[in-house]
Symmetry: C2
Subunit: 454 residues, 2 copies
């Protein structure tokens, strides 16, 4: 039989394979995210990975619309499904949420808190840190008609819970408000139709620097001195209270004033939720340029690894599903780009992907299974039934080979029972990291293993 | 703005939406499956949902080959990726496993135990119990060159652990062996090229009945009396030991004898793993018709809900990746069709999908958030920090409305703090199922909630 060329065995670029080490690290991360989401009252919904093209098109704009993967059947069967041409892979969790709520609005209880953790797909050119399939972990709260600002504050508390648990170093959620930015831009007479471009430019200030941003703002019609004072407002180092005081001193117009008031409520709420001062700040340069946010916007970064960029981001939106239902559904949400974050943390040495076993214990089968299988299988089942995950080695191989296997997979303890142990009714438990071992009566197997795992 | 027609808001057929109730039930099921897989030493790998068409084609046969969804870009961007035409959605977890092992064989430790839980896609006509996207939860152990039969036995122990934990009623894993069946078919001179058809026919005996099976076997060239004695062998009621005794009395040919010996080893191993006699039996009619199994085959059913059909199935295969690598990789695996199982259990009333909250506690905000947010937010954060998942109601609504919300979502306890409680330094905790409530000093919030949740 001819073999497939080797290069075809590698995953397609942008569709990464997670081997056991990465997959175990991924689960650790997802378990923490999910637990924190559930602790805060969010419930899952699982829509399919496939949506109708019409739904995606009704809600998607610009760049993303060009990145949608449609489906086709490779070899149409006689009863081929005629709808396949209208199906495509989702590229975020927001549109499926909008469709689900529009379809089930009468069965849901508002404010509706939901989390969604799973893969999304983008038809982009893959490069470092950009994937074609990646996991997003989103939460949103969606109100019926209105949604109070304390929900915006709670998002920051939930994110703080997650990054505290992940223990990957100090982090800060920067909080901005688009009304403040837009109010300022209106006050310097920037035309409506340039607003989105201006927000996109401001969003880049950290990447391209102040001078370049001013230059680009001037190019779209902002007066140079106004541009400069905007950039000073946005980027000068101040603590949260200083920024708020400065904002309150300048009442430029009603939109600006509304944004400042929102920001103040959100900051107050974040403090009432008990979020540490070191875990958040007001940063007016956060604009989330191309997104559909209308008020609060967020970005979370690791203080000591700013090069990882934004590790969580989101904001408040006026109306989730305007093209799908007449009901007004304002909401606030935040999203963690899990695949990118995990792979960067592993690369930076902040997460370990070297452990390739979940069970800490291997039960070896030193005297062979022909004769003594019942002894070894009883041992492994006793451990499992006692709540201790345990693997058993079931190949007929000498103990030396079995210990090599145990070392390679990274078990903590090996249970070893040789002829003399069988005669004595004992068992040896060896710590593979330290080499220390204990010989105990076999009825003490579970308790000794438990003790040696502490 | 014109709205999208309502029918487009429904999920496409065969791609079911799981609302909060179903999604919570799904997580309960997946958590049990995953825990049992991990307890037994299986580690996850996460390959992408997208594979190369060439890889899928090299390994897929017959019907399934006609059911593959390929990808296309809806609107090719100028830098469109030229490989998209060669990409398709996976239709099982086995081919991605084969590719992953072939690509990473030198980095892996054999026998390699892996689990994979996630969606797969089939371009079939959806109907009751058949979906176009569904979750499969697979385990496989793959050996390098050889793999001992006790691994076949361990699968049955793992499956027994899962269905015991799921607590959806008594279940039996039926164990067959294709060598036994093929040996019998060879002994009645069935030609090689009819073997697969014959196995497919035998696999249907439960569905279509003995008479019809005999008739179909005669049509493909089996002698009628041989067909009848085969069907008697396969379907007569006997316990495991009787079946084994009967098989050992009849040594039809070497293939048959080999299969009988395998079956004997597997049954012995299952008993040594401590699986209850009521949770397994030998059933020679299990053939897994169209699959690539070569020895042991399994199917698990619920004793009291046979109409649910097979809820887990799998078997032993000679060589996982013959078209991808020269290394011989025998393995054994089992797969649970989670989506179908879950939705049928919900429909049959064996699983509850009516609870739409995960957190048991709602903190209400009776006196409003304008004045007293800090009291309520401190309460909810104290509960969460104490390990009690809790939601807080953050809309400015009267307590009556808040209690309606709490009832509708199905919380167990409501924390209520009114003006008089604030004055007294107390808090009321009400059990929403029984109506019983306690008023306690507010420092006793966590301990009382914990107690009332028991």
């Amino acid at each position: 039989m001819t073999l497939l060329p080797k290069q075809l065995l590698q995953n397609a670029s942008g569709f990464p394979d997670f081997g056991p080490g990465e997959a175990i690290a991924l689960r650790r991360m997802l378990d923490i995210i999910r637990t924190q989401y559930e602790y805060a009252g969010f419930v899952p919904i699982d829509t399919a990975l496939v949506e109708r093209v019409q739904v995606l098109a009704a809600k998607s704009e610009g760049e993303i619309g060009n990145q949608i993967y449609g489906l086709r059947l490779l070899s149409p069967a006689p009863d081929a499904l005629t709808d396949v041409k209208d199906l495509a892979l989702r590229f975020d969790h927001t549109i499926p949420l909008a469709r689900f709520i529009a379809a089930n609005q009468n069965a849901l209880t508002f404010p509706f808190r939901r989390y969604a953790i799973g893969p999304v797909f983008r038809g982009e050119k893959p490069k470092d840190g950009r994937y074609r399939q990646f996991i997003q972990a989103d939460i949103d709260v969606v109100g019926d008609g209105s949604l109070d600002l304390l929900y915006d504050a709670e998002m920051v508390a939930v994110i703080a819970g997650i990054f505290t648990e992940l223990a990957i170093g100090p982090f800060t959620t920067r909080i901005g408000n688009r009304k403040v930015l837009q109010g300022f831009l209106l006050s310097v007479n920037i035309p409506e139709d340039k607003m989105t471009s201006a927000l996109g430019i401001i969003d880049k200030v950290e990447k391209i620097g102040k001078e370049k941003v001013v230059k680009m703002l001037v190019e779209i019609g902002v007066d140079e001195s106004a541009g400069r004072s905007l950039i000073t407002l946005l980027t000068d180092a101040r603590n949260t209270d200083e920024t708020m005081a400065l904002l309150k001193m300048n009442s430029l117009n009603s939109l600006f004033a509304e944004g400042v008031q929102e920001l103040e409520s959100v900051v107050k709420g974040i403090r009432q939720f008990g979020v540490k001062e070191s875990n958040f700040c007001v940063d007016l340069s956060i604009a989330r340029g191309l997104d559909y946010y209308t008020g609060t916007v967020y970005e979370t970064r690791l203080d000591t690894y700013p090069e990882l960029g934004s590790i969580a981001s989101g904001g408040r939106y006026e109306d989730l599903a305007s093209s799908l239902t007449n009901r007004k559904l304002p909401g606030v949400g935040i999203s963690i780009g899990v695949t990118r974050l995990l792979l960067r943390l592993i690369k930076a040495g902040l997460m370990d992907a070297s452990v390739t076993t979940i069970t800490p214990v291997i039960v070896t089968t030193a005297t062979g299974l022909e004769k003594n299988a019942s002894i070894y299988l009883e041992q492994v089942m006793r451990l499992r039934n006692d709540g201790i995950p345990a693997e058993v080695y079931l190949m007929a191989r000498p103990l030396g080979k079995q210990m090599q296997f145990a070392d390679r997979k990274g078990f903590t303890l090996a249970v070893i029972t040789q002829e003399e142990n069988i005669a004595d009714g004992t068992v040896v438990i060896r710590n593979l990291k330290t080499g220390i071992q204990q010989e105990v009566l076999s009825e003490r197997l579970e308790s000794t293993v438990r003790e040696m795992l502490l």
